[in-house]
């Protein structure tokens, strides 16, 4: 071992010491920067704070006719006007359908954040309806879908001179729908909904009293406050025999402004509640049996002002 290497070693040691010391000071310097405090906060926040509950899967309580998983929250009431003009292929004499109209007025009220009730009245067959919507599952970090149950009872009150036997029971039908929806991204939400419609009275013995249908629908946001919607309602075969019922396809455009949602609608079905748009669609897109219309909703809030934090 030569003297040179020894000297080298001592200088090496000194160097290491300096590096160690300076790195220590540097580390303290880094630590004193305020971003470290913030990182400390955001780290612990990421670990616990956010449950990732998914809201606003859809803007409105219906895609077009098909109810969505959304409903008014607790102490909120929604007034909904659903309006369909006549068929576009009625021609110029009927002003392409605009001379005729069908309307449904409805009120929905949130009893809790997950349970809402509603009533409605449609001009088609002078039908009253009552409903509830119950959110069973809520999409979040742990839950892939939101699931709601929608139950609707309808009663037609249109008078028939030739059918005096039609009592309230025979005029009543029920629709149960399981609404399964997922918000895939901030823009895309899809919903799948099997439905079971029960009629107390059907036209012939060959027609089923219980009709099973499958619905698919979704929305794609094109701006923050507008989306394009579509829904398709499929009737499983061999259930409705005596009349021709087509599957209904509807397209729409949502525009949201504050407490309003405005929906422009094109559909081959005229009815706006379960038994009608699911099982009584008489027109097809191919023939030009297209109904133009709109839905407008307005929400009202009845929550009391909470007392401001005192300080």
């Amino acid at each position: 071992m030569s003297a040179g290497t020894i000297i080298n070693r001592t200088t090496m040691r000194k160097k290491i010491c300096y590096i160690l010391l300076s790195s220590l000071f540097l580390s303290t310097a880094v630590f004193s920067q305020d971003s470290t405090l913030l990182n400390m906060l955001t780290d612990s926040m990421t670990n616990q704070g956010d449950k990732g509950i998914v809201t606003q899967t859809f803007k409105a309580t219906q895609i077009i006719n098909l109810p969505t998983v959304e409903a008014p929250k607790r102490n909120n009431m929604q007034f909904l006007i659903m309006h369909r003009f006549g068929k576009i292929n009625d021609g110029a004499y009927e002003f392409f359908g605009l001379d005729n109209a069908d309307i449904r007025l409805a009120l929905d009220y949130g009893i809790t954040d997950r349970f809402a009730i509603g009533i409605g009245r449609s001009s088609l067959d002078k039908t009253f309806d009552g409903s509830f919507k119950w959110k069973i599952l809520q999409q979040s970090k742990r839950m892939p879908v939101t699931v709601s149950l929608y139950e609707l009872i309808t009663n037609t009150t249109l008078k028939y001179e030739d059918k005096p036997y039609l009592d309230a029971k025979l005029r009543t039908a029920y629709t149960s729908q399981l609404l399964i929806a997922r918000k895939f991204s901030r823009n895309l939400s899809l919903q799948f909904s099997p439905a079971w419609t029960h009629y107390n009275l059907v036209p012939t013995p060959e027609d089923k009293n219980d009709v099973i249908t499958l619905s698919m629908g979704g929305r794609m946001k094109i701006t923050k406050r507008m989306s394009i919607n579509a829904e398709y309602n499929y009737i499983l075969p061999d259930q409705i025999v005596s009349t021709t019922a087509y599957n209904s396809l509807s397209l729409g455009l949502d525009i949201e402004t504050g407490g309003h949602v405005f929906q422009l609608v094109f559909s081959n079905t005229q009815g706006m509640i379960g038994p009608w748009y699911l099982t009584k669609t008489s027109g097809t897109w191919g023939n030009g049996d297209i109904y133009f219309g709109f839905n407008i909703s307005r929400s009202f809030n009845f929550n009391k002002e909470k007392e401001a934090k005192k300080w």
Binding site: R13, K14, C17, L20, L21, L24, F25, T28, S32, D34, S35, L37, L38, M40, L41, T42, S44, M45, G49, D50, I53, T55, Q56, K73, R74, N76, D113, R186, K224, R225, E256, T257, G258, G259, S299, N301, N303, E305, K306, A308, K309, W311
Partner: protein, 181 residues
């Protein structure tokens, strides 16, 4: 040499330890208010994380935007969905420093000047404000008011509701921090 190094290390360690006067809370409060003839908007978040380092005079906040509760549920959803886009930008944060002529570790109310950066909706802006820090029995309470302009944070307000939202939003901050052990 080793000894010197050891002593220095210990000294540095102690000095850090002695200065580690960090006060923290997870239940801080931030509220914001907008009042126009058409609409009163009020939202409150009582799960704000805040930390104050008294020795280094540093201060930091973090709040989940989904934690802001509105009286109107729909308004809350629109706030998250259309305005702050909390799915993309879940947090609002502040980090900065404070200045004071007084010793804030002493009991009493101290006026301080706070400056730093607010980060919200993917935009970072410098901000300065006056605040008070009150030390009482080992608890440090901070209070401040701010005015924030949504446009500064690239939050656009559609013309249809512009009448309903104030140009400058009042923000109130209240944190009650306890010392870390």
């Amino acid at each position: 040499m080793k000894k010197i190094l050891f002593v220095m290390l210990v000294a540095i360690g102690f000095s850090q330890f002695a200065h580690a006067q960090i006060y923290i809370t997870r239940t801080g409060y931030i509220g914001f208010f907008s009042k126009t003839p058409m609409e009163d908007i009020k939202a409150e978040n009582s799960q704000v994380y805040a930390v104050i380092d008294v020795a280094k005079k540093n201060i930091a906040f973090a709040a989940l935007l989904k934690g802001f509760l509105f009286r109107k549920q729909l308004m809350q959803e629109h706030f998250n969905e259309n305005y702050v886009e909390s799915d993309k930008y879940p947090k609002a944060t502040f980090s900065g420093t404070f200045k004071s002529n007084e010793d804030v570790t002493q009991n009493g109310v101290h006026n301080v000047d706070v400056s730093g950066k607010i980060s919200l909706h993917g935009v970072e802006n410098p901000v300065t404000t006056t605040a008070t820090l009150e030390m009482k029995d080992g608890k440090l309470t901070g209070k401040a008011h701010l005015l924030m302009v949504p446009g500064d944070y690239n939050i656009q307000i559609p013309s249809l509701v512009r009448e309903k939202i104030e140009k400058e939003i009042k923000v109130e901050i209240l944190i009650e921090c306890s010392a870390t052990k």
